[in-house]
Structures are given as C-alpha cells and as structure tokens.
Amino acid sequence: MKRLSKAVVALMVAAFALAANAQEAPDALVKRVTQEVVGIIKSDPKVQAGDQARIREVIETKLLPNFDFERMTALAMGRNWRTATPEQQKQLVEQFRTLLVRTYSGALNQYRDQTFDFKPLRADSNSSDVIVKTEVVRSGQAPVQIDYGMERKDGTWKAYDVIVGGVSLVTNYRDEFSSQIQSGGVDGLIKALTTKNAGGGK
C-alpha cells in the first residue's frame, strides 16, 4: 500500500512537471531560448569561426520553432493577406521565413559581449497575447530594447513580432509588402521576396 502511494505521488509529480513545462510562461520561454542561443554562440567553435551553415542550423533548431511565421506574414500583409490564395500564402510564409533567417544570421554574426536583461512580464496571467520585454546592454551604447509580441496557441507561446529599439519587424515589412503589391500584385511580392532570397535584388 505504501509502495503504491509512493508510485502515485511520483506519477503526480511527473504529470505536474510536464504540465508546468507545457505552460512555460512567455517571459520564461524568451529567457530560456535567449540564454540557450547566447550559450551556443559563446561556446560553439564553429559559430565563433563564422560558419554560416552552423549558424543557420542554430537558428533553425533553437529560434524558429518559437516563431509563428504564418501570423507574422499575415500581419505584415495586412488587408492583402485575405486576397492571396492559399498557395500564394504558403509561398509568402516560406519566403518571408527564409528572409528572416538570413537577417537573423547576419545579426548573430554581430554579436559581441552584450548582456541581456529580462524584464518582468506585466500582463495578467490569463492573457493570451503579451509583449515580453528584454534589454541588451553594451559599453558605450544606449541599451537596446528587444521586445517580443507573443501569442498563446494550443498551450504554447509563439512570437509573432520582434520589436528592436521600437522598430517593429512586422510594421517595417508592412510598408515593404504593400508597395510591392501595389506595383505587381501578390505575385509581384512573392517574386520580389524570392529574388531577394536568391541573393539578388539589392
């Protein structure tokens, strides 16, 4: 009997731990992922040597699973999102994702000895849409705020916007996308993104 209750307790603890993990708070998630990535950048000899393939791998496996690219693309498209066919939407998400990976790997190359500050989350615990605030501090520079717009979907938090020093990625691309759509339609935008990702289109 005693053994059984011990097993039950163990099970309950395990179940609780799992549940807690599934409901990792958004700020805790940002902190964990940032520290993981910074840890890799600082210790991985390939990343240190500027190995692009390895840097992309780190981004693909560590960062990207925490982003909601469909939501990001839809937000950057604004009203035009609904005028795109499902096939066009798929291509847009794919191309936008590729573009952001390229941009991010460039940003990681610039990483020096910054320190990250994680701000306490100011939102009520039931909210499913929050902004997680972090700050990067470097000598001789004003601190740069990096905020993440995050939404809870099916129990996990995913980022749909990154706001660096007040510059929202999604807002920035809204101008870019709408001017491309204005001149060449949704297909024109897809083409512009594809060309950009292929290395052309300076």
Binding site: A107, G140, N172, E176
Partner: protein
C-alpha cells in the same frame, strides 16, 4: 568648413528650401511628402557612400582593434551624454538627465576623460536624448521626412536639431583649426563605422531599402520620443 558642419548646413538648407517645394507625385507615406526628391537623394547617397565611404568603414571595423575603436567611440559618446543631459533637462526628463549627467561625471573622472565607459558597467543607462527629441517633447511636430546624402534619414525637426548640435559644440569651440578638423573627421568616421552593422542588416533585410530605412527611422524616433509608450494617435507617424 568641416564635415559635420557642412553636413549640418546641408540639413538646414534642405529644411528651408523644401518648404517651398511643390509636392507632385502622390506620396506613399503622409510623413514623406517629398518622396520623389528624397529617393533621388537616397540614390546619390548610395552612390557616394558605397564607392568611397563604406569600404573605409568596413576596413576600419575589420582592421582597427576593437579596444581602439571602443575608446574612440566612448570619447564621443561621453560628449553626446553631456548633450543628452542638457536636452533631457530642457525637456523636463529629470531621471534621464540625471543619469546622463552622472554618466558624464563618472566617465570623465574615472574613465580617463570619457575614454572608458565605466558608467554602463555600473548600471547607469545612457539616455540618448538630443535636440530633435527635445523639440518633440516641446510639442513641435516632426515635419516632413528627409533623406540627406552623407547624413542619412532625418526629419525637418531632427535635422534642425542636428544643426543646433553642430553650432553648440563642443568640437566647434576648439580654437586650433587642424585639431578641430581632425576631431570632426574622427567623430564622423566613428559614427559611420558604428552604423556599418545597420547598413549590413538593411542589405539583408530590405526589399526596398528606401522604404525600409524610412519606416525604421520614423518608428525609432517616435519610440524614443515617447519612451516606448506611444499614444495611439501617434502610432502611425
């Protein structure tokens, strides 16, 4: 005339003459009524910067040892902090002005005249306030967006701020002309070298660099002016 001064004058001249320009082609952004003109200025900037300046900035960042670059940057950053303190005070931002004044005192005394940024390590944040933001805090609207070759994105308000800064020194107070010119040169070089990672990022991220830079600049300045708490009616500026 020195580089910064010339640049500042250019901004001022633009601010004055553009007021009389006619707006023709439909502007894409209400903040940028002179878009066709600005776009051509952006092309001029890219041609000059890409050919002559960018290679130097890249080489400087690559071959000049980081401690040397940091020391040079810290020196000018310390001067900026003084102006941040003054303009912050004039904007009624007591906390930020106090921090920046503290930074100047600490970095000047303990950081060998500003060569080492001791204050950041000590946890005193850099305020980054300036004349343009001070005008904004006084309620002066940003005015039309401008792209000035060799200077970059600005607005009539921020450009006027840059002119005010050029006139109020402290480099302009250095009486020995060669020394003053060298200081201007190094200050401009440091600023451009510091901006190189941003140029790189824009190359990678932007589909249309002009739009990307404009949106980033306006978002950034608005965010700074309101300390990140942008009132809803100012969000689209």
């Amino acid at each position: 005339m020195t580089a910064v001064f010339r640049r500042a004058c250019a901004v001022g001249a633009f601010a004055l003459t553009l007021g009389g320009c006619a707006t023709t082609a439909g502007p894409m952004s209400s903040a940028d009524p002179y878009e066709p003109w600005n776009r051509s200025m952006f092309e001029v900037h890219q041609a000059i910067d890409g050919t002559f300046i960018r290679p130097v900035a890249k080489a400087y960042n690559e071959y000049m040892p980081a401690p040397v670059r940091d020391t040079i940057h810290n020196f000018f950053s310390n001067i900026d902090d003084l102006f941040s303190a003054i303009t912050g005070l004039a904007s009624g931002r007591m906390d930020q002005a106090g921090h920046d004044l503290g930074r100047v005192i600490i970095n000047t005394l303990a950081g060998f005249g500003g060569l080492i940024d001791v204050a950041t390590s000590g946890g005193i944040p850099k305020g980054n306030w300036d004349y343009g933001l001070m005008f904004g805090a006084w309620g002066i609207p940003q005015g039309p967006y401008l792209f000035v070759p060799l200077w970059g994105p600005t607005t009539v308000r921020d450009g006027t701020g840059a002119v005010a800064r050029a006139f109020t020194g402290p480099i302009s107070f250095v009486s020995d002309v060669p020394t003053r010119n060298i200081m201007y040169g190094v200050a401009v070089g440091d600023a451009r070298a510091q901006a190189e990672p941003t140029y790189d990022m824009i190359d990678k991220a932007a589909i249309d660099k002009y739009t990307f830079i404009r949106r980033s600049y306006l978002q950034r300045r608005n965010y700074m002016l309101y300390d990140g708490k942008i009132p809803p009616d100012k969000e689209d500026e």
